[in-house]
Amino acid sequence: MIDLQTWIDWAGGPLFRAALAFMLLGLARRAALNAWEIVRAWRRAGDKQLPWRAVLRATLRWLFPLGQVGNRALFSATTLLFHAAVILVPLFLAGHVALWQPWLGIAWPVMPSALATALTVAAVVAALGLVIQRAASRATRALSRLEDYALPIVVGLPFLTGLLVMHPGWNPFSYQWTMLAHVLSADLLLVLFPLTKLSHMVLLPATQLVSELAWHFPPDAGSRVAAALRKEGEPI
């Protein structure tokens, strides 16, 4: 029987390295395939005149969702809070920086512990809020797949367990089991990045360009569709 600490070290060591490598290389792969498809679509397009300026403006506009609050203010605010928490806490938590430091040999500024706790609570609450708001509206319900409900929960798990690990006094479970759950759920999250829509973290900057390119058909697209429908020569 191997003791629990050995499993924690394994999940935070070799398994974490593999998950991290999978996330980084996998995201690079997604970005490369995306770029390949963009180039391919552009080379086939009959109309190669792209409204670059408009595409750039739309891209920038959607990168900062505050301007898009519109008619779903609560949803936008939850999303923003959720993103701020899930990006900042893992990178700037003092305990995480202390783990990176011997491995990378560099340290970077850490966030105050109280802020980390507050943001972690926010991440958990926002994750639940996202699921509830998605389920509450008929329009979003119609658009959602199982993945869309499951991902906020999966993203929230390492934050919930991390909160309990950070404050053992609040933790009704064994410290080591909580730590193992924390590390394993984080590993799972890293693996899921390139495989699910979480890969929007690298694909987002190109989404507007892709949408634009989708309307630039190959020059003979019309006649090929007509041929496939066996309606050649018929008036449109």
């Binding site: 390295r17 395939l33 390949w36 498809e37 202390a98 053992p168 064994s174 066996r230």
Partner: protein, 637 residues
């Protein structure tokens, strides 16, 4: 659903991914990190499989070239390009495998400059380099046929190369003959290491003949596999001709190998029942006797299944022959058994996979086989009901294969060591008490210590002494320590704490070994889990990690001596452990820290009492004395 070709490529890409991950560790941290190789077993799987078997598997190249260009067996011309390509890739894999196996891979070019003409390996190295070049030139015309190279300059080169075909073929045959046999000659200097059933003065002939058979079998297997994966008809009539050729060569090989054993009177050793004799019988049956017998039957020879079976047997058996000579039947010093690590196997498989992928890539784009496998560009089509595009997704293949390689590589990362291998921990032996004598000899500093021999009278000027025998690294070179005299000299029992810095509660003479458990490596003393239990689970965390807001590290936790006040003797000669305890140093460092400092200090500060020799290593470590007393030493536990 994946078709069989895509499935094959997916698996191959996953293997290449594993290869990539292992390669990073191999070249970043050296051979020791990924292999079981050692000074006693310096040649392992990579030499046996990638070099020995790899060269032999590629022998089809020169055999078919000789058949077509020298013996004018024109019907085999369709195989020439595939055979040359296989040989080219095989030798490229040999070179790549060597890069993994060489301790200093960046020295691989050395044989070109530093000639060692007494060395068989030098000849092999030069031949392989030359032959790789020859093969590249032989295959170049096929590449230059591709539309990419339509420019006249390239076509001039292609014409020149085509005119040079015959000289190139002849050079290829000569070079192959030389080094295929030389790989066997390598083992001629090991008549006492290689088992008698494998060692032979004609080892080089056996290697050459078996390589010819193996090369033919590889060609058959490759042609059958290619027809299976690309779903085209295999040229059965030609393949059965190759099969017949293989049978003839196998017969020659069996005659030579068994005849040589009989000639040297070793044939009886095949049946002596040892497991190597059984291995020999298994290898001979697999590689030679069964396929030879089967290939002699025309019905087997002209059937797809029969040819596939025979080619498979020959390939497996002849590769086993190389592995046997190189590893299995090769005696090594006792206790230095070798079995490859999973990483060594992964590298061999990965190189093979990479070769197959390059082979498939070229077969799909160049005219390697006569009927091209290039599938025409798909016609556009739409499902009229749904208007869905029915075109195959052009990026499906890159998407699938890159994911397969990524998954393979990251799966390997989980199990890869990250760093050079750590030295194996050597547990220290606890010091033990022994009855001894202390003798004041003329001209020697201090006392000379010896074990007491029962029933022998004490020499003059000698007193009985209570000794400690310290043999931390278990090599029999013990240090004898006069414990009784040190007690007297340091100030009776009040002085225990000068050496024995206590670490177990209320214990006054804890053995050094309790904390300094390893001879050279430090021993961690702090056990987190037992503290968690003792302090009552999560509720107790705050006793050491007072501030939740700080990361729970060594530096931010309560110091040990805040609770364990009585456990560190303040009078210890060695600096008392810091408030934050570090791992206990290794046994050697602890002993040296304890003895050397005090000896040096005494010799320096009280020269009227102590000789300057007191601070020398050989005052305690006296190899002559230890050897002399060795027979008197009590048997070690």
């Amino acid at each position: 659903m994946l078709d069989r070709l895509s499935l094959l490529k997916t698996i191959l890409w996953a293997l290449v991914g594993v290869l990539a991950a292992v390669s990073v560790v191999r070249f970043a941290f050296g051979l020791g990190a990924v292999t079981n190789l050692s000074d006693a077993a310096p040649w392992g799987l990579w030499v046996a499989l990638d070099v020995m078997a790899g060269v032999a598997l590629a022998a089809g190249g020169f055999v078919v070239a000789a058949a077509v260009y020298v013996f004018h067996l024109e019907q085999y011309r369709p195989f020439v390009r595939a055979a040359i390509l296989t040989a080219l890739l095989g030798y490229a894999a040999v070179a790549a495998g060597l890069l993994y196996d060489l301790g200093l891979p960046w020295h691989i070019w050395h044989p070109m400059i530093y000639w060692q003409h007494h060395s068989v390996l030098f000849e092999v190295a030069l031949c392989v380099m030359f032959y790789l070049t020859v093969l590249a030139l032989e295959f170049a015309p096929a590449v230059l046929e591709h539309p990419c190279f339509a420019r006249p300059a390239f076509q001039t080169i292609a014409r020149g190369l085509r005119q040079a075909t015959l000289p190139l073929v002849v050079a290829g045959i000569v070079l192959s003959t030389l080094h295929q046999s030389s790989l066997g000659s390598l083992f001629l200097i090991t008549p006492y290491r290689l088992h008698a059933l494998w060692y032979s003065p004609i080892l080089y002939v056996l290697f050459f003949v078996s390589a010819v058979a193996l090369g033919l079998a590889t060609l058959i297997a490759e042609s059958l596999l290619s027809s299976f994966f690309y779903r085209h008809k295999a040229p059965l009539r030609l393949l059965s001709g190759l099969g017949l050729g293989a049978a003839v060569v196998l017969a020659l090989y069996a005659l030579l190998r068994l005849g040589d054993l009989a000639w040297r009177g070793q044939l009886g050793a095949c049946f002596d029942g040892s497991w190597l004799s059984r291995m020999f019988l298994f290898e001979m049956a697999l590689s030679t006797l069964i396929p030879m017998a089967l290939l002699c039957v025309p019905r087997v020879r002209s059937s797809l299944a029969g040819l596939a079976l025979c080619a498979g047997l020959i390939v497996a058996g002849m590769v086993l022959y190389r592995v046997d000579v190189c590893l299995v039947a090769f005696a090594r010093p006792e206790g230095s058994g070798y079995f490859p690590t999973w990483m060594e196997i992964a590298v061999s498989l990965g190189l093979l996979a990479a070769c197959v992928l390059v082979f498939l890539f070229l077969v799909e784009r160049l005219r390697v086989y006569d009927d091209p496998h290039v599938r025409g560009a798909p016609q556009p089509s739409y499902d009229p009901a749904t208007l869905h595009n029915l075109l195959p997704d052009e990026l499906a293949a890159p998407r699938r294969y890159s994911l397969a390689a990524l998954l393979g590589g990251c799966l390997a990362v989980v199990f890869l060591p990250l760093g050079a291998p750590q030295p194996v921990a050597t547990a220290a032996l606890p010091a033990r008490a022994a009855a001894g004598i202390a003798e004041n000899r003329q001209g020697e500093p201090g006392q000379t210590l010896a074990f007491a021999v029962p029933d022998r009278p004490l020499p003059a000027d000698a007193q009985p002494a209570s000794l400690l025998v310290i043999d931390g690294n278990r090599d029999g070179q013990m240090v004898l320590f006069n414990h009784g005299a040190h007690i007297g000299r340091m100030g009776r029992h009040e002085s225990c704490a000068l050496c024995h810095h206590l670490s177990l509660p209320l214990d006054r003479n804890t053995s050094c070994f309790e904390c300094h458990r390893d001879v050279y490596g430090p021993t961690p003393l702090f056990r987190h889990e037992s503290h968690v239990k003792a302090l009552g689970g999560n509720a107790g965390c705050r006793q050491c990690h007072a501030d939740d807001s700080l990361p729970k590290t060594y530096e931010t936790s309560t110091a040990c001596d805040q609770c364990h006040r009585l456990q560190v003797a303040s009078a210890a000669l060695v600096p008392a452990p810091a408030a934050r305890w570090h791992p206990a140093p290794g046994y050697v460092d602890a002993m040296h820290g304890l003895c050397v400092n005090c000896h040096e200090k005494s010799a320096r500060e009280a020269p009227e009492h102590y000789s300057p020799l007191l601070s020398r290593c050989d005052h305690c470590h006296d190899p002559d004395r230890a050897e002399q007393r060795q027979p008197l030493a009590p048997s070690r536990p």
